[in-house]
């Protein structure tokens, strides 16, 4: 390993680039729109910008797992705020993907307690099995490998988040089982 190379997939904010790709779909379904309106009224009148992060989550969910410039502009238009107000927020938070990602994004925790319990081995095992590096997506578009910082799962380390679920106490064989299951879906 060359120590001069950064090992993290994403460093500080100056490493973040907004994609120039476009997403296929960029308008909420009527059901999501109803939810959007329900969320906005949770905040006092005139304070609708508070709904920005909840709406960006909905947009990322509905528009292919990432936020394209069009998706962000669309959210800006709903909240009647400037697009740049959306970009500056989207680039700050690690959960927002500003580039297309695979169908399954494997987010492996690498912080202290997970590190004590073999997170490095899990990350290397995934790299080897998927034949990709951290931050890359497999050729079939199924898997993106990402390292993340503490997910509050330290008692069940090592672990990773995939979509809505935490997969805890990971071992090479439990990873084999999961990858097989996702590959066959």
């Amino acid at each position: 390993m060359n120590w001069t190379h950064e090992t993290r997939s994403k460093s500080m904010n100056n490493h973040i680039h907004i994609s120039t790709s476009t997403s296929a779909k960029s308008e909420f379904s009527p059901a999501t729109m109803a939810l959007v309106n329900e969320i906005i009224i949770r905040y006092p009148e005139g304070k609708h910008k508070s709904a920005l992060i909840p709406l960006l989550h909905l947009a990322q969910n509905e528009f292919g797992g990432w936020l394209s410039p069009e998706s962000m502009d669309y959210v800006a238009s709903i909240l009647k705020i400037a697009p740049v107000e959306v970009y500056e927020v989207a680039t700050f938070y690690s959960m927002f993907n500003l580039q297309p990602v695979g169908k399954y994004m494997l987010e492996v925790c690498q912080t202290g307690p997970c590190g004590l319990n073999g997170a490095d081995k899990i990350i290397n095992y995934l790299k080897h099995k998927l034949n990709i590096d951290i931050g890359e997506t497999s050729a079939d578009g199924l898997f993106t490998l990402k390292t993340v910082e503490c997910l509050a799962s330290c008692g069940t380390a090592p672990m990773m988040q995939v979509g809505e679920h935490y997969y805890e106490n990971l071992t090479p064989s439990s990873i084999d089982h999961l990858l097989k299951q996702w590959s066959n879906k």
């Binding site: 120590w3 993290r8 107000e85 938070y93 590190g115 004590l116 330290c154 679920h165």
Partner: protein, 448 residues
Amino acid sequence: MSKKLLLHNIDIPGIETIDIYRQHGGYSALEKAFSTFTPDQVTEQVKASGLRGRGGAGFPTGLKWTFLDRKSGKPIYLVCNADESEPGTFKDRYLLEKIPHLLIEGMIITAYAIGAHKAYIYMRGEFKWIFPILEKALAEAKAAGFLGENILNSGFSLDLYVHPGAGAYICGEETALLESLEGNRGNPRLKPPYFPAVMGLYNCPTLVNNVETLAAVVPIIQLGGEKYAEIGVGKSTGTKLISASGHINKPGVYEIELGLPVEEFIYSDDYCGGIKDGKQLKAVIAGGSSVPILPVDLILKTAAGTPRLMTYESLAEGGFITGTMLGSGGFIVYDETACIVRNLWTLARFYHHESCGQCSPCREGTGWMEKVLFRLEHGQGKMSDIDLLVDVAKKIEGKTICPLGEAAAWPVAAAIRHFRPEFEYHVTHRSEVMDINHNSISAMLVSA
């Protein structure tokens, strides 16, 4: 076993539903508060309980409530800090997913005490599966008349909502949390003037409390503040949730009565169950990754030779020279094989990643600490790097808007204070260090 006030019902099937929660005494504290106490009397009960903030700072909760500006004429907001992200800490998650009504009941009582009519639970966005659990519990509480207009015919009304974060440790700092809740980047605010009690959410008086703190209001009202204060030791009253992780036989969340000896917590089968694989204890981070690490001799006993207890005071005894902090109760245990340098490097990487970038000492300093630790850990370090790390840590501490600077600096300073020979070893045995790092990777590839 120690007294349980928060987790005593946690394993009852269905306790996440309002019916089962109420069958086991749920919402009786709320009924008691509304029928027998004025709002100020609720605050008095919390003050009498001696409860201290369970998020990490340990500030007296009742006193914090009294700081709220009640005369401004502006609405008062209550915000629950459920952005649990301090490495080593996973206790709030446990309450949120297992017994959501406990938090909701505590929040309604708190809102009644401080006169808030709108409240938010700011929960870290990664807890995706917990959002539906909380939404369902909130709907149940509303249907039962505990939320909404005129709760229990008291004339008091409250709307309570869940709000997601999106991945940022800094949003656990209360002013950053409020920025984020307003739809902005999570940059902490300057204090003064932005004390949340006066200029908080939407520039209105705001109370921000941790999940466990708000949940603890329920047993305080049930027992009465004075009875609660009888539990624990001295100024460390009540019970505390401890998240135990690392090289132990039984990692998990434990509720302890404050005052439990650290040694009993580590070795008793009621708690951590001893060190994994029969190995020896090397060190402990007792209160989440930001507090100073202590070697085995100083975590089991103070420098004066008295048994170290799980209290705010005992863990802090000796200051930072020989002591640490109870913090969030994130209890990370290291066995004899753990590499202090490697683990510190992962923590330094964490703080660098999580620095919001607003203050130069933190933005730049966390980056330098990560880089220097990376090269030490990978056999490229120099002897002068060790003092360089101490120097950088000193130049961050106390020079930033929020405490993330200290949170990043303290672990570095403490690890070098107590384990300097291990850092020196990384410089004098470079090829061995490099071999170990390469071997761990190649061994893994062979097993694949």
